[in-house]
């Protein structure tokens, strides 16, 4: 089973992102389950949504505590809640930000100190999803771009499946705008991947050296 946890704020389409991801996986012939954290979702409040993807039927109903991938729709959450909690040591992180992965992880490390875990080099990705959403959709809803980035980063689902899921969900005009945002995010992450490998490695050492040791002291 592959488990994804998505963090964001109410209004960013986090729950919808988990649902669309499950539809994309389902369309590829896999079993998938998506569910929200069942909070009292309000605009701006921290929101969590979950998605499981497996080749076998999924019976488990517990929230995802040990994700294989984490998507962070709002990087300001990094300083407020432990969004990386329980991440599988080989797990992926996809952040919505204009900044480079290294800067961001470094900043997060400064902000939340010992709670940052060592991230595996090559598994940290950044996509400017809000900017892409503004360009294509005209509203700060980064979810479609994040899913495009997620498809590129993990290869778990194809961009085409993500786009089909978007088209299935929204009226044509809104759908096509989001489809375009997802596509640009996909290519952005894809193109930046080699670069991100280096940056993520730096981030890893930075975080490990400066924050991990005190945390365990």
């Amino acid at each position: 089973v592959f488990q994804i946890r998505i963090h964001g704020r109410g209004g960013q389409g986090v729950v919808t992102a988990a649902e669309l991801l499950s539809v994309a996986a389902f369309d590829e012939g896999r079993h998938a389950q998506a569910f929200p954290s069942f909070g009292s979702e309000r605009t701006g409040a921290p929101v969590v949504a979950f998605c499981r993807i497996d080749d076998r039927p999924i019976r488990l109903r517990e929230p995802i505590g040990e994700p294989d991938a984490i998507i962070v729709a709002d990087p300001t959450l990094l300083g407020q809640i432990d969004v990386l909690a329980g991440l599988n040591p080989d797990g992926y992180v996809l952040l919505n930000s204009e900044r480079a992965a290294a800067d961001l992880i470094g900043a997060a490390a400064d902000l939340i100190g010992g709670r940052v875990r060592p991230l595996r080099p090559g598994r940290v990705f950044v996509v400017p999803a809000t900017r892409l959403a503004m360009e294509h959709v005209g509203r700060p809803v980064p979810n479609a771009a994040l899913l495009g980035g997620f498809a590129a980063a993990t290869g778990l689902v194809s961009l085409a499946s993500v786009q089909d899921a978007i088209r299935d969900r929204f009226p044509p005009a809104v759908a096509e705008a989001n489809v375009a945002a997802a596509a640009q995010a996909y290519h952005h992450v894809d193109a930046a991947q080699a670069y991100q490998y280096v940056d993520a490695a730096k981030a890893y050492h930075h975080v490990a050296a400066e924050t991990m040791e005190p945390a365990h002291a």
Binding site: A18, E19, S22, V23, F26, D27, H31, A32, Q33, A34, F35, P36, F38, S40, I58, R59, L60, R61, E62, P63, G65
Partner: protein, 386 residues
Amino acid sequence: MRRQIEGSRAVAETVALCRPEVICAYPISPQTHIVEALSELVKSGRLTPCEYVNVESEFAAMSVAIGASATGARAYTATASQGLLYMVEALYNAAGLGLPIVMTVANRAIGAPINIWNDHSDSMSQRDSGWIQLYAQTNQEAADLHIQAFRLAEDLSTPVMVCMDGFVLTHAYEAVDLSTQEQVDGYLPRFEPRQVLDPAEPVSIGAMVGPEAFMEVRYLAHLNQLRALERIPELAGEFATAFGRTSGGLVSPYRIDGADTVVVALGSVLGTVQDTVDELRDQGVRIGALGITTFRPFPADAIRAALANADRVIVLEKAFAVGVGGIVSADVRTALTGPELPLYTVVAGLGGRPITRQSLRGLFVNATVGRLEPLTFLDLQRELVG
């Protein structure tokens, strides 16, 4: 057709295939998506003829359902939590009048303190109302149970509650094999009421009954519910033949052959329980699970048979009777005969507290070695209660 769909949507689409003629709705989380989806289906003309009635309260919702059903219309509504409590007076009337209303309960805790999350306190509080209660393990079963519920309700002239875990199921996207109109029409005939309120031929229903016959009315209601214990497995069997999948029935055993320990539970938690059973079986622990799909009427014989070879029983409950303990446990205890089996009541998941494999694993292992209290509150945070 299999679709990746929200549980509420799957239920709404399926209810629409059952051709309800009156739907009355008052929104309350986590049930709201169901009636919202149905309102769209009515407005768009996909569900027709159907009168969709927005009411001012849950009491009105059940009252409208009663009125509609009494005139011979197939009536549906949905609610949860405090909403269910607000319709209690009318719930008993629906049952007493023998009106075949079907209602979804999107299970949610009851306040105070206010809590919108899932547990079974709402429907458990109405276990003695005379309604049949069915509990769904998955969204597939939630959808399928509604088709069976209309048939059962109309066969026996009794209302049926389909209980599905709020949020955990109602808001979960998963694959559901949605039935076709042809399949549902083949399984669920038109509603042929035995008696209707009709201005052209006036009758009174629900007139006062005094001490000379009231007990007999109640006794007959009991007999009627007991008939459901035979009818439910028949309807589940017919459903499996017609739809090609298994849903419903009285109980659903999982790996109980050779199980010394059997975990009894209701609803969606059974998925997590089954995963935990598999893990422990792999480690040589002889454990199985028993889902109670039909809670009212209580399938005592089926439960007794399923537990016949168990050495101990754990009843995992998402509700409890304050000052007493388990609700389901007490009923399971009455089903057991012969030497007293150790029976552990575990209250879990109240107010939406997640029930995890990790917690269940520890719990089940403790039970197998006799290290479990008769009444346990799973993952109770001792530091919060002093």
